[in-house]
Amino acid sequence: MQKEFPVFSVLNSALNTISAALLIQRWYRQHVARLEMRRRCTWNIFQSIEYAGEQDQIKLYNYFGFLMDHFTPASSERNLISHIFRKNEICLDTEWERYFCYKSIEVTKSYTGPHLMFPVTFCGVSKLVEAFKHKEQLHARYVLQLLGETWRLLRTFPNISHVIACHTKAITICGDLHGHLEDLLLIFYKNGLPSSDKPYVFNGDFVDRGKNSLEILLTLFGFLLVYPNDVHLNRGNHEDHIVNLRYGFTKEVLGKYRVHGKKILKLLQMIFSWLPLATVIDNKVLIVHGGISDTTDLDKIARVDRQKYASALRPPKMKSDSYLESKTTETDLDEWKQVMDVLWSDPMPQNGCIPNEVRGRGCYWGPDVTEEVLRRNNLQLLIRSHECKQDGYEFCHNRRVITIFSASNYYEVGSNRGAFIRMGPDLVPHIIQYQASTTCRELTLRQSVGWTERSALQALREQLFVHRSDLISAFQEFDPNNKGMISVTHWASTTERVLNLGLPWRVLRPQLVSSTQHGMMDYQRWIKELSITEPKLEISDNSILDTMYKNHSNLETIFRIIDTDHSGLISFKEFHQTWELLRSHLKTEISAKAIADLAQSIDFNKDGSIDINEFLEAFRLVDISAHN
C-alpha cells in the first residue's frame, strides 16, 4: 500500500513518526508515574513503621522515668533499671586509664587480622580500611588502644568545631551512616580519603541498624587521630548508649567481642558524650545532626558541659538515683533542652516550634524559626541529617536548610540513595548522590521498586499479624451477626484505628487482601492467611505469644539493661523480673505461672539461665508464606 504513492507515503511517514513518538512518550510517562506512586506508598509504609517503633521506645523510657520518680529505692522494679540512670561514676583519669588498659591484652600469633601501630598514621588507617573491606576484625587490644586515644583527644575539643574554608580545598559533609560500611567506602571511593587536603565533617548517627557500626567508628576515629584539624565529628542522637541497647549497636559489639565487649562499650559511652555537638564553617554554615528550635543559642551551647549528657533518655533530674529531691536547677534543664534540640529536632513546613511528639525529644521547627535563628547567629545555611530522604538529600525552608543522609538502601535494598555535600570557599553546596550494592545498580527502576515494595508489605503484614487479636475484636464491631464479613471501607478505617500508622489502607488493599466480593471481605480468613510464623516452641498461651511479638524490641531492650555484666545470659529470676517490668508498663495480665513455664521451656541448654539472643531468635517473625 505504501509503495503506490511514494510522495504521499513520505508525508504519512513523517506524521506517523511524530504521533508514534507522542504515543510512546505518553505511555512511558504514565508507567514511570505509576512506579513513583508505588515507591511513595512503600516509603510511607517504612516511615510509619519506623516512627511507630520510636514512639514505642519513648513510651518505654518514659515509663522508666516514671518508675525512677515515683518508686521508693527499695522497689525491685526500680532497682532493675536504676543503674542505667546512674551518673558516670566520677573517677580519676588514672583510674579510667587502668580500667581501659589494653597493655595486658596479648595479640597471639594465631591472630590474622590487621595490626595497628601507634601513633596512628594515614598509612595505618588506610590499611585498616582495606582490612575492613575484606571483612577482617580488629583485635580487641588495638580497639581499646584506639578508643583510648580517641577519648583523650575528644576531651580537648570544644563543643562547637570552627572551620575556616580554605581557598584551595573543598570540605565534604556526610550525614547518617548507621553502620553501613559499604556507603562509607563508596564515599571514600568517589571522593577520596580524609586528609589535610580533603577535610570532612561527619554529622552523627554512625552506629545502629547496620551491621558494621564498629568498623565505621574505628575508621572515623582513626582518621580523626591522624588529622584532628581536618576531620570533624558531630554527635548524633544514636551516639547514646541507651538508644544503642535497642537499635543493634550494643548487640553488634558484644557479638564481635565476647571477652572485651563490655569494656569497649563503656569506653564508647564516654566517647559519645565527649563528641562535639556542632560544626560551623566560616561562621556562616551551621552543621548539627538534628536541627534547631526557637530557643537555640550557640553561645549557650558553646558553654555547656557536654559530657554530662550521656543519654537523651536520662534528663538532668536523674542526676543521682536518690529518692530525695533532685538538685536540678533551671540552668540544667535549659542546657539539656539546648542539647536535645540540636540532636533530635526535625523541620516542618508550617511556621512555629512545637515539641516533637514522634521522637519524644527535640522539636519540630518551622521556616520562621530557621530565619530567626540564622539571623540571630549571623548564619546563612543550616545543614542537618537525622531523617532518611529518598534522594539522599532534601532542601527545605526556602533552601536555607539541607537534610543530608548518607546511608543508602536504609529501609531496604533500593529504598533510597545516599548523598554527601561538597562545599568550596564560596560556601555553595554541591550534592553528590550514590547507591551502594552492585545488585542495586543493575536493577531497573521497576525491579527495585518491586523489591522494596515486597519488603515493605512484608513488614506491614508482620504489624498486622501481631495485632490480630485487636483487629478481630474491632472488626467484629461491624459484624454483629458474626458472618465473618465486613466492607472494605470498614476494614480500612478499623485497621487504621488499631494500628495507628497513618497509612492509605484503601490504596494498599489490593496488595494485602487477596479477594473481595462486592466490596466485602472475609476477615477471619484474611487473618488466618496472614499467618506469619511457626513458633519454635510449644506455647499454648496465645496472649503471651502476642505480647512477645508485639514487644520484641522492648523485651530486647529490657533484657540488655538487666544483663548488667553484658554476658548475654540472664537468670530465671531476672527473666521473671523482665516480664514484671513489661507487664506493669503495658498493664496486661500475664500470670506468674505462665511466665515460669515460658522460662522453663526456653532454657535451651537446661543450665538455669537464658541466652538472650537465642530467646529473641526463637520469637523472631518468620514468614512461612515466603516459601510459597
Binding site: 508514534a20 510512546i24 505518553r26 508507567h31 514511570v32 508515574a33 510511607n44 513546613p349
Partner: protein, 162 residues
Amino acid sequence: MAESKQSAEATVSDVQKKIRAAFEAFDYESNNTVDVREIGTIIYSLGCFPSQADLHDLIAEVEEDQTGYIHLDSFLPVMSKVLLEHKFPPIPEDLLLQAFEVLDKEKKGYLEHEELTKYMTQEGELFTQEEVDEMLTALADHEKNVVYYKDLINQLTIDPDM
C-alpha cells in the same frame, strides 16, 4: 431503575474514594493540598494517559492562582469527571506496538540507543536527557544494549489495579 441509579451513585463514590486515596499519598502536611508538581503523578496513577498538553490544561483548571498548590476541593470534581468519562484511556497494546514499529524503520525488531534517544528528544513532547537515560536503563536489554520493544509491551502494560 432504582438499582442502576444506585450503582451509578456507587460508581461516583468509588471514583471519589480512589481520587482521595491517591491524593493523600502526596498530601504531606495533611491539609488537603498537594504540590502542583505532583499532580501529574497522581493523575497517571489513577489509570489515565493524558499527554503533557492535556496535563497542562487540567492543572490550569484546578490550580489556585499561582500558589503552586492544588486543593482537593478543586481537584475532586474535575478528576471525577475525567474518570467517569474515561477521558484519557489507556493506549491499546497493538497501537503501541505499531508506534514502535514506525520508529523501527529498518524493521529490525529492536531499537538502538541512538535511535530511541533521537526520537524521544527530538519529536513529539520531548523527553529530557535524564528521562531518556532512565528509559534506556529501564528498558534496554543489558547485554545487547538495544530495546526489544515487543517483549516490553507484554511485560509492562499489565498493571495491578488501584
